[in-house]
Amino acid sequence: MNVPGLFHFASLLREVRAPGWRPWILGQKHFSLPRAPLLQAGGKKNSLNLLGLTEAELEEQFVRGDGPGGQATNKTSNCVVLKHVPSGIVVKCHQTRSVEKNRKIARGILQEKVDLFYKGEESDVFKERRALEKKKQEKKRRAREHLERKKLFKEMQQLDKK
């Protein structure tokens, strides 16, 4: 089936970009521009202290196919491509059927990546992941020990029978 233009990007620049490139000092907190709303970390990320992103530093693109859009189109592609201009980090989100949800999720993912980028090991994202990793290792270690003890117990039982 020929589907010309399905993946043609419709570019969208939402806000005027800040002039020039602002040098970022690692670990410095970013202050939002007065008129642009601060991006809130959503859902489970509320407990993490992440750098805020403003709409002014983001560039959004959508895969919607070319053509008039709106009623005249019924393509289901609603992939969001979101770029954080100062760092150059780009994320894609096509997780749900709703454009609005994909935008929210993309912002959440981007916020985590940007935080990691600037804060490195100081980032709550990094710390949370390391903690999860540790938990997993602990679980594995305990499971292994448990198996060992069971094996040992069985061997003892065999010896007792003899």
Binding site: A10, S11, L12, L13, E60, F62, R64, P68, G69, G70, Q71, A72, T73, N74, K75, T76, S77, N78, H94, Q95, T96, R97, S98, V99, E100, K101, R103
Partner: protein
């Protein structure tokens, strides 16, 4: 299958899963049964006949809601999600202005009229997002009225919505004023220019209700009807929010200026997520 990550709601052993993310890792590894494969074949055949994915699956998401879809009722487009956001933002602004000791906070607010409700996407999203709101939704097609009611029941929102089977072009304002003048009129009216109808995709032409799309020669037939009716339905400073063709903003501005007796003014044009002028915010001036 096109787009999204939707997976056909294949019936079979294990919990029902309508989307990829909700499938357990076990069911992801289990090979499909013959019955499931047959079912997929049936669904794929429908898609090969150019049936839109949303009709093949029988459901689709709109903002936070999952709605039942059924041909020929118009399938909500992703752009329209932003139309809902605009109404919600305006309501929050109006609410801040009006709240105070002398304002009856207990009264339902806002009261919204939707013209051409289709599957109920806009109406039900607004009810979901604005817990104090009430909606009067109307459509000239019985199939749309039925589907909106069905979706309202599935989402347990039926107590706050009245769905009317009525054609806005041939009714009177009276029947729509059951809760008095409304705070908002919202609509995604048919706005395709008649000459553009023939070039629409087969998915649309073969399966969707074309009356939900065809706006007449200039695409403005229903838009004009709504705007002509708006002053008798709206409270002072009430708003009309419309989704339109990108060519319409200037045309609507001119038309409103040519009909000053309506006391309606175009106060904002908003772009959709592809950068096209798509949404009109029109306000009723107080006398």
């Amino acid at each position: 299958m096109r787009g999204g990550v939707a997976v056909a709601p294949v019936r079979g052993p294990g919990p029902a899963a309508s989307q990829f993310q909700s499938l357990s890792s076990k069911s992801l590894r289990t090979p499909l049964t013959a019955a499931q494969q047959e079912q997929i074949q049936q669904l794929s055949n429908k898609r090969l006949e150019r049936m839109p994915v949303q009709y093949v699956l029988g459901e689709w998401d709109f903002r936070d809601l999952t709605l039942k879809m059924r041909p020929p009722v118009f399938i909500p487009r992703p752009e329209t999600e932003d139309l809902v956001s605009l109404v919600v933002e305006e309501e929050s602004l109006m609410h801040k202005k009006n709240s105070g000791p002398c304002f009856p906070v207990s009264a339902p607010h806002p009261v919204i009229l939707e013209i051409g409700c289709g599957s109920g996407a806009i109406a039900l999203s607004l009810l979901h997002k604005l817990p104090q709101s009430r909606v009067i939704a109307m459509d000239k097609e019985e199939a749309a009225v039925d589907l909106t009611r069905e979706n309202a029941h599935r989402l347990q929102l039926q107590e706050r919505i009245h769905v009317l089977h009525q054609d806005v072009s041939y009714g009177s304002a009276k029947q729509l004023l059951l809760w008095g003048p409304v705070d908002f009129i919202v609509s995604n009216p048919p706005y395709v220019f008649h000459e553009d109808m023939a070039s629409l995709d087969a998915e649309i032409l073969r399966y969707e209700d074309l009356d939900a799309l065809d706006g007449g020669d200039d695409g403005m037939r229903v838009i004009k009807t709504i705007l002509a009716l708006a002053p008798s339905l709206l409270k002072d400073s009430g708003s009309v929010f419309l989704e339109v063709d990108p060519r319409h903003p200037d045309m609507v501005k001119d038309w409103l200026q040519a009909h000053p007796n309506l006391l309606l003014v175009l106060c904002a044009v908003h772009k959709d997520f592809c950068g096209k002028p798509r949404f009109l915010h029109i306000q009723k001036q107080s006398r």
